[in-house]
C-alpha cells in the first residue's frame, strides 16, 4: 500500500515526561485519517513533529517518500500543509491579503487561483474585512485556505472543529470531503469528537498516553461496532456447524462464547442449536458505538461492549 506518511517509533520527551512513546503509524495516500485520542494523549505533539515545529527525541518518519533523517525533508514539506492548533494568519489583513502573503511565501504568482480558493472555503465575499473581525468558523476556514495555497497533497488539521457551532462543523466537514474527493487530497484530522470523525474518516489511529493503541480502517471499525448477539453455548464445535450450515456471520471468542453478527430471532437460533444438540446457555444483544469502542480500547470507564439488551 502507498503511504503518504509513516512514523517509525517516534518519541518525544520533555524533561522526564514522555509525550510520545514509540509511535508507529501509517497514513494511506488518499485517505481521510482520523487521529483519535483524549486530551493530552499526544495528537498535537505528533502533528507538530511532522510539521517541523519540533524535533523528535527518537525515531524518524517518512513523508511523501522522504525520510526525516535524510536532510531533504523540507522538500517533502512543500507537498504538505497544516493548520496546527489555532489557525495562523495576519490578523490585520483581509482574507485576500493573507492568501497573497502565503503565495509570496511559496513563491507562487499572486493571481494564480486566489479567487477560486476563497470561493472554495466560502470567504469570497469578505471584501475588506480584517481577519481579526472574522467569526471563529471564518477564521478556521481562512486557516484552511492558507494551508491550501500550495496545492498540497497532504493536509493536516489539528482539531479543526474545535469551538465551532453545528453550522460551522458541517461546513468544515463538507469542505474536507470535497477536497478529498475532488483533489484526491490525503487528510489527517485529529479530534476527540468521535461522532464527527465517524462521518469523515476512512482510516483511524487511536492514541493514548503517547502510544498508538490501534490503527484500523473505517470498514473494519464499522464491522466491530455493529449490532451482534453475544452467546454462551455448551458445545462450540456444534455451534460452529450450525453457523456454517445457515451461513450466519459469527466470531468465536472462547471455547464457549461467540458473537453472531446476523439479524436473527433468538427463537430461531435456539431451535437451530437445539436441533444440533447444542445448548444455548445465555444470549445478549449488543451494539457498540464508536465512543464505547474507543473507551474500551483505552481501558476507560465506558459501558462494557455497548448497550446490552
Amino acid at each position: 500500500m502507498d503511504y503518504i506518511l509513516t512514523t517509525n517509533a517516534v518519541s518525544k520527551k520533555y524533561w522526564k515526561a514522555k509525550a510520545l512513546d514509540g509511535v508507529t503509524m501509517h497514513i494511506p495516500r488518499g485517505a481521510i485519517y482520523g487521529f483519535v485520542g483524549r486530551n493530552g494523549a499526544g495528537k498535537t505533539t505528533l502533528i507538530r513533529l511532522i510539521c517541523g515545529l519540533q524535533d523528535p527525541s527518537e525515531g524518524d518518519y517518512t513523508l511523501c517518500g522522504i525520510n526525516s533523517a535524510s536532510g531533504d525533508i523540507a522538500s517533502a514539506r512543500r507537498k504538505m500543509s497544516a493548520v496546527v492548533e489555532k489557525p495562523a494568519f495576519y490578523s490585520d489583513m483581509t482574507a485576500r491579503q493573507n492568501l497573497e502573503m502565503q503565495y509570496t511565501l511559496l513563491g507562487m504568482p499572486a493571481d494564480d487561483g486566489i479567487d477560486e480558493l476563497l470561493k472554495l472555503v466560502g470567504l469570497s465575499d469578505t471584501g475588506s474585512k480584517k481577519a481579526k473581525n472574522f467569526s471563529l468558523g471564518m477564521k478556521q476556514r481562512l486557516g484552511i485556505a492558507i494551508a491550501l495555497c500550495g496545492r498540497p497533497d497532504f493536509l493536516v488539521l489539528d482539531e479543526p472543529t474545535n469551538g465551532l457551532d453545528p453550522q460551522g462543523i458541517i461546513e468544515i466537514r463538507e469542505l474536507i470531503l470535497r477536497l478529498n474527493r475532488e483533489r484526491q487530497m490525503t487528510v489527517l484530522i485529529s479530534s476527540h469528537i468521535l461522532d464527527e470523525l465517524a462521518r469523515l474518516a476512512t482510516d483511524y489511529g487511536f492514541i493514548e498516553k503517547g502510544k498508538i493503541v490501534q490503527e484500523i480502517s473505517a470498514q473494519a471499525l464499522e464491522a466491530k461496532c455493529r449490532k451482534y448477539l453475544h452467546v454462551k453455548v455448551s458445545d462450540i464445535k456444534r455451534f460452529t456447524n450450525v453457523m456454517e450450515e445457515n451461513h450466519w456471520d459469527y466470531e468465536i471468542l472462547t471455547d464457549s462464547e461467540a458473537n453472531i453478527y446476523e439479524k436473527i430471532m433468538i427463537r430461531h437460533l435456539s431451535d437451530a442449536l437445539a436441533a444440533a444438540d447444542c445448548e444455548l446457555m445465555s444470549v445478549s444483544e449488543h451494539e457498540e458505538s464508536l465512543e464505547n469502542y474507543f473507551i474500551n480500547l483505552i481501558g476507560g470507564t465506558g459501558t462494557e461492549g455497548g448497550a446490552a439488551k
Partner: protein, 297 residues
Amino acid sequence: MRTLYRTLMKRLCRDRILRFGAVLALLLGIFTAVESVLLGGYQYLYVQDFNFYSGEAFMAALLAFGLGREFSDGTVRNKLIAGYTKTQYYLATMLCAVTVATVYYLLTAGPLALALIPEYKRLTAQPVAEAFLCIFLSNLFAAVTAAAVCNLTRSQIAGVLGTFAAIFGLYTLGELTEQADSGQAYHDVTVTDARGQIVFAQNGTPLVIRKKKLIYTEPLHSVLMVLHHGNPITTMGGLSCVFQDSRDWSDAEQKKQRAELDAYALEDMHPRYPVTIPVMILIPALGLLSFRKKAIT
C-alpha cells in the same frame, strides 16, 4: 530563503506602525540636519547624540514589534510548515534587520549628509566617512539586537521590552566599563582653538562645525573607539577628532593638539576593553541556538 526574506519584508512594509515610524525617522533626520546647520559649535554634539541614540532605540523596538507579530499571530508556523528551516527563518529576520537599519539610516543620516554638502570641500573626507560609518554600525547593531531578542523571546511584547532592555543594558555595560577603567563618568578631554573656543569635547559626533576644518589624527581610531567603548550605540560617530580652523593654528599648535589626542587615545586603549562587543555577538548567537532548539508554539 529569498522568498522568505521578501515575505517578511512585505509584511513589515505593510505594518502601519512601522510605516509611521519611518515617517518619524525622516522627520528626525530633517530636524537633525536643520539643527546642525543652525547651531554649529559645541552644543550640537549633544543634540546629535540624543537624536541618533534615542531614535535608534525606538527603531529597534518597532522592528521587534513588527517581527514579533509573526509570533503573536502564529504565522511563523506557516513558514516552518511551508518547508523553511528555523535557521533560514532566523537568518531571514537578520536580513530584515539589516534592511530596516539601512532604511532608518538613510532616513535619519541622509538629510544630514545632504545638509553638509556645502561643507564637504572644507572637510577631510576620511573622518567624515568614518563618522557616518559609525552611525550606520550603531543602527545595524541595534536592529540586529532587536531581531535576536525578538526571536529569543518569541513574543511581540517581550520582544519590544527585551530590545529596550538589551540596548540600554549594552549602553550601561559600556558606561560601566568606561568608569571602571577611568574612574570617572566621562573623559573630560577638550580641545580649544587659538581663540579659546572649544572645538572638541568627549568623544561625540565629530561632524562639521561651521567654517571649521576637520582634521584627523589616526585613520583607524574611529573604529577602535567603537570597539573600545564597546557599544557603538553610544558612540554614534565616536571619533577622536579635532576641529580646527587651519588658518588660525600654526604647525606647532596642530602637533600639540594631535599629541594630546594621541595620548587620550592611548589612555583609552586599555587591554581590558572591550566588554560589550562579545555581548553584542552573544545575543544573536544565543538567539539562533535557542530558536533552533526550542519548539515553535
